[in-house]
Symmetry: C2
Subunit: 291 residues, 2 copies
């Protein structure tokens, strides 16, 4: 049981974490801060937080657990602002979708207090953002990746795993480098491809006519192209090396398909498609290689 | 009311057309042929067809309406086989996903009988193929594109429109060229990208670990990568010019995103993403540009 949870960034992710801890009986009290006053006012009215803090530093003060759930690019400034307010022994986590840049920012911003920081990436979300969509069950059955630093206090890492498990999440540990490489491949690149694909069709003279003929395959393939521009600017920008590396892998694969198409090699083309088709048919969300 | 419908290729598409015409009281009798005897046996048992024909020519004989629902690459051979059996005044349609190659094949195969042919592409399907998944309502609310030739008998074109409308479909007319350009953009290219993307991730040394971390965005983006290899070999091969043209458009768009990422131009990147994101959020399936 935590005495006081501080949530900095009371949106869908931060708000759901607060509700989940309350419902699980893990937090006595929640103090929240958001850059926009209307957000914390709504969070208070919805019972997501118990008190509005006047600043990030005030939200972090006197807490034994703090979650930073702000856009990735705002992480460093937030950490700098709260460093002097952190209690000894506090468990400090973020919720960013990229981890190398967060770890680098934390080293610069937290300095000797780096031991209290457990970088976290909950793989959960909804089509709709905002505290009004927060729910206590958001993390149930979802993965949370923790990417501890060598300096991270092992007792705090254990408490971090325990708190996510207590609200229904499945915890995996990996390095920030492994995390960023993996998510560049399975999340960041698909977003980039979906953005670029939608733009390439819509930008053609007959684009509107084409789009009017698109069906269910197109709908699913481009769903992630509707994602939030500011969030994805930050993610693609901060994980750029891994994203560009994955894009190169993709271009090479596309090239092999195009070569088979261009040269009329039906058998080679079918073999390429079959590899993808059978692999995808066999894939299940959350299926581990060793499972 | 048609006296006899001949269905060549009794799979999901052909079988559903037969069921729909029966349910609508539009066909007195259905004769079916498939390359695999087990398929027609099952179609007969399920009441999809009333009689099994011993050949494509036998299925087409004595019919006043014929639907060819075979893989695109088998269209020409099928048309050649049935030409001599076609009754005067018969309405002959196909159901292929590409149209220029079908029109070319029909010119070569049907010669002076080309006037009876109305090329059709019903934009409907399901995850699962095969006559056991056929249903009378498959075409309800879906689009059917007809791409008549200059030689197509106008009376037959009218009857073709009418029969599809009677089973719940919405008919659009366009040229085979317009059809193939549009579907290269909104269907064929997304399939190619999904195949290539899945292959590029799965083919990496850490591919299995990456795939184990993939979530709902990945699931939807890659759903079409599980499509049938033989069907898509034919589609990508027969519409290769338009597909490769669309792929070039896509590569140019991807390049512009990558340039913004590589050079750290956050504002330019956000503007590019915003264009795609707002466009996709505004898109609705079946929304016409003039609607």
């Amino acid at each position: 049981m935590y005495r006081q949870l501080g949530v900095i960034g009371c949106g869908l992710i931060g708000g759901s974490f607060a509700l989940a801890l309350k419902h699980a009986g893990l937090a006595q009290r929640v103090v929240g801060y958001s850059r926009t006053a209307a957000t914390t006012a709504l969070a208070l009215r919805l019972g997501v937080i118990d008190e509005v803090a006047s600043s990030a530093a005030a939200a972090a003060a006197a807490c034994d657990i703090v979650l930073i759930a702000v856009p990735v690019a705002a992480t460093e400034a937030t950490l700098k602002e709260i460093r002097a307010s952190l209690e000894p022994g506090v468990l400090l986590m973020d919720a960013g979708s990229t981890k190398r840049d967060v770890v680098d920012a934390a080293r610069r911003a937290l300095r000797e207090r780096i031991d209290c920081f457990v970088p976290a990436h909950p793989i959960a979300g909804k089509e709709s953002s905002g505290v009004e969509h927060a729910e206590a069950s958001l993390y149930v059955g979802h993965r949370v990746i923790l990417t501890p630093l060598p300096q991270t206090d092992p007792a705090l890492l254990k408490r971090a795993s325990s708190v996510w498990q207590s609200i229904g999440a499945e915890v995996r540990l990996m390095s920030a480098e492994q995390h960023d490489a993996a998510f560049a491949a399975v999340s960041h690149l698909p977003h980039l491809l979906a953005f670029a694909y939608f733009k390439s069709v819509a930008g053609q003279p007959a684009g509107d006519e084409f789009l009017a003929l698109a069906g269910p395959g197109f709908r699913d393939f481009t769903r992630i192209a509707a994602s939030d521009p500011a969030v994805w600017r930050d993610i693609l920008g901060s994980n750029r090396e891994e994203v560009l590396k994955q894009s190169q892998h993709f271009r090479a694969a596309l090239e092999s398909f195009e070569t088979a198409i261009r040269s009329g090699q039906g058998e080679a083309l079918e073999a390429l498609i079959r590899g993808a088709s059978e692999g995808r048919a066999d894939w299940r969300m959350g299926k581990l290689p060793d499972a």
